[in-house]
Symmetry: C2
Subunit: 226 residues, 2 copies
DNA sequence: TTCGCTCGGATTGTCGACAATCGGAGATTT
DNA sequence: AAATCTCCGATTGTCGACAATCCGAGCGAA
């Protein structure tokens, strides 16, 4: 699971977590107004901790605050997503490149085992979940961790990129890309195992570009439907 | 100036700003404990807004908070800075690449004019300030803006990368690199003017690599001195 | 002397109440 | 009828006080 802190620490922290979860899963709709008093009551806490949580989410880009006018859930329009994927391509490509020289053999083996598990899952579910599931994000995050770059881990890890999970959740219905995605993951692991950073980066970039194309098409359909 | 909001909006916002400034300039030493009550009094506000500000700075990575133990100013050790510059290289390289196709001729001309101003400044000061000054950051930020990527602007802009300014401030004594830096900037602008994204990216990456080497050496010296 | 324990002060976490500000419904004017 | 003004309710911003927690000084025992 990418959500680490379960239900401990300060109230502000748990509020931030629950809010992030609600936003990512769509329980709180995009653009929805967030009423402090209401949320505070729902979470059984005062408004102080809740306001701190909102500040936190603002930094994560999950909500947008306007002074004296409250906070609203961010809306993921086409441009935002496009920007996000462009940044992801650069950052995860770099992570892959470095990881090829930094990950231990054991870590790479674990990565491969993770893919085995994913393949199993696909065979069971008929390929419904994979490309969009938490498992996919785990794969990406494991590579990011392999880069040993703390800043990268912060930017792409649990803290910052909930936006990505939000996007995944929203577009989790199409399962067309699950098999090619798994294949690409396998190729990436192979490049890592061969310690070929250049290739690993290129494969990861293409993988993310493919994911963006897939999502972009889906947005087109949605827009045409609406 | 990269600090936009002057002294308006909520108290939490101005507190975050003043704190960020104090940290970046070193007025608050690295690793220093931040006492909520004391700071609140110094800023003439209650602890509520101040706590929100600390949450904000935590997201910016300027302070590290530990539950029930308060917040401390982050310490920029070698590893942190190394990670930062690696990320910067990937992100600003990408910004440069995109900016080459997105910036208007006028914007590029303004960029060139900015460099003229910098050159002027160098001649006056004997090259003391340039490579580390706000002006340099302006140059980089203008290119980031040229990429038209909002996420990039958030990550590299005023919000997120105060860490970089902090580093600049700390190492602002050496002026060895000002002239080669200016030259590299000129080459980058030329590549942008020629709409050569590939070259522009490569030049920017090398520029940042050079900056890192320079800073790295300085850290070595400091460590040897200590 | 050194280690461990207890207790007290200080600091953080939280809450409830008050003040400031904003958006909108309704009335007034042209 | 359309536009503008005014006032009111609702929501956000802020403060002060209380409770919970942690750190360290001082004491006592081995």
């Amino acid at each position: 699971m990418l959500l680490k802190e379960p239900e401990q620490g300060t109230l502000a922290d748990v509020a931030a977590h629950r809010l992030a979860h609600s936003i990512v899963t769509g329980e709180l709709a995009q653009g929805q107004k967030l009423n402090e008093a209401e949320l505070a009551e729902r979470f059984g806490m005062g408004r102080g901790p809740l306001r701190e949580a909102l500040r936190h989410l603002e930094g994560m880009q999950l909500v947008k605050r306007i002074p004296n006018a409250g906070a609203r859930v961010v809306v993921l329009d086409r441009k935002t997503l496009s920007d996000l994927y462009a940044v992801r391509e650069a950052l995860e490509g770099m992570a892959c490149h470095i990881a090829a020289s930094q990950m231990t053999d054991e870590e790479i083996a674990q990565l491969s085992a993770l893919l085995d598990k994913h393949e199993e899952q696909i065979k069971q579910d008929g390929g419904k979940v994979y490309s969009q599931s938490e498992g996919d994000l785990d794969f990406h995050y494991q590579i990011v961790r392999g880069s040993r770059n703390e800043m990268l881990m912060h930017l792409l890890g649990s803290e910052q990129y909930q936006l990505l999970r939000m996007c995944r959740y929203r577009t989790s219905r199409n399962a067309q890309r699950t098999r090619p995605a798994l294949l690409q993951h396998r190729q990436i692991v192979e490049a890592l195992a061969n310690r070929d950073g250049e290739l690993a980066e290129m494969l990861m970039r293409r993988h993310i570009q493919g994911a963006w194309r897939s999502i972009s098409e889906m947005i087109d359909k949605e827009e045409k439907a609406a």
